[in-house]
Symmetry: C2
Subunit: 256 residues, 2 copies
């Protein structure tokens, strides 16, 4: 049965999309069947795997607002074992539209259950907010993976994020676990990065992945070519880091 992991952090620009796209591609490289869902109206995940959001007619919006079965909006990509459900520009309206729907937080959860048998992992990229779309992802997921940038402002939002996760665990999804925290954009030459990593380790202990994603220019170049890092430059630091993260995620889930 497939494991559903939501990539969440309301702080902007911490590497949610970069982690969603590259973790998914690396899991696929290790023969895991992966479905990547873009739940962010910015559609960065969609373009990160080479799909033009303006050419897509049906995406996640049609499933969670239009009751269209999810299976009908799945697209195959050119990358090994990687399917994707794209986001379209109309998703920007979903934050408000969901407020008027009965059982609004469970729309994605209801639709996603039939897909768990078809994939080993379902990865959901979320917008930088704790609004209706992110609540849908938290309600539908088995666990949450939190990218944390090695910067001061990124630490500030963690208290709020943990409170929201606890709220979801109590009221919407008692089975929701923490998959882990992954440090991103780390420049280990600086005191600040080392200090932030130390702080997170003290707070979250073994929930922090051993892999630290280092700052690496190729990770920000690859989206311009619509390719995950291992298909853009397999020898880059970014590829090493995300392959290592994927191995940790597989090992952790094989044990259970």
């Amino acid at each position: 049965m497939g494991r559903i992991i939501a990539i969440v952090n309301q702080k902007g620009g911490v590497g949610k999309t970069t982690t969603a796209v590259n973790l998914s591609a690396c899991l696929g490289e290790f023969k895991q069947k992966v479905l990547l869902i873009d739940l962010d109206p910015q559609s960065n995940t969609t373009s990160g795997v080479g799909i033009d959001k303006y050419k897509v007619t049906e995406g996640i919006y049609k499933a969670i607002i239009g009751h269209h079965p999810l299976i009908g909006v799945i697209m195959h990509t050119e990358f090994k074992n990687l399917d994707v459900i794209p986001s379209t520009p109309d998703l920007a309206g979903a934050e408000v539209e969901l407020l008027e729907i009965e059982n609004r937080h469970n729309r994605l959860r209801e639709e996603i259950i039939p897909l768990k048998e078809k994939y080993d992992f379902i990865i959901i990229d979320c917008p930088p907010a704790l609004g209706q779309l992110t609540m849908n992802a938290l309600s539908a997921s088995d666990s949450v993976l939190v990218p944390i940038q090695c910067d001061y402002y990124a630490l500030e939002g963690l208290i709020q994020l943990m409170k929201t996760i606890e709220l979801v665990q109590r009221q919407m999804n008692t089975a929701l676990e923490i998959e882990g925290m992954v440090m991103t954009m780390g420049d280990l030459r600086t005191n600040l990065a080392r200090q932030v990593i130390e702080d997170v380790k003290n707070h979250f202990g073994d929930k922090m992945f051993k892999t630290v994603i280092l700052r690496n220019i190729t990770l920000s170049e690859a989206p311009g070519f619509g390719k995950p890092i291992i298909y853009y430059d397999i020898n880059s630091q970014g590829s090493k880091d995300y392959l290592s993260l994927a191995r940790e995620v597989i090992t952790k889930n094989k044990e259970t």
Copy 2:
């Protein structure tokens, strides 16, 4: 009469808060009286000027939801000519609460008009979304300043952002202008950054500020000490860049 500038970009982590805090402090250095408003529930601007959001009892939430006059929630800071209206954790609920209020997009606009006489500049930091809070800021402002990170994903959201600004200009605030685009976190040694700057220059021409904010570790260290960059390290690249941006903003507005 004070000029109200909203710092807006729905893409996360592009330097909205860093620009709001440091531009405000630098304008204050040049003897401009500045009010900085934190309209983001993450409260990064509030902590960026050394205020503990958990110790603040009244902030922007009380004014736009609670009809409390804005003047009553202004705090003085230790920095020259810089006052601030902080954000408190209850602001996180405002995105949904505003939907039930009559005339929801104009709450801030109604409250802010009396303050225009007391300040030379009012700077508003916004969350990474085009929701109700950002719409309030766009409706209340004379102009929009858009930070753009020198990265591929940051380019993607600009079409959506410009459409939203045009919508606001047509329906809510015909006088809204573009103050300008400022390129941020530029590492000019990389092709990507130079290419992104070139693209923005081709699209937006003279709306792009001449100042490019370079990537500079001191800019991400300063928030940890609750200080704008010119009070943390006046000799840093970050101080030079934001002082230069402040000079451009003053020159541009003196002409009018």
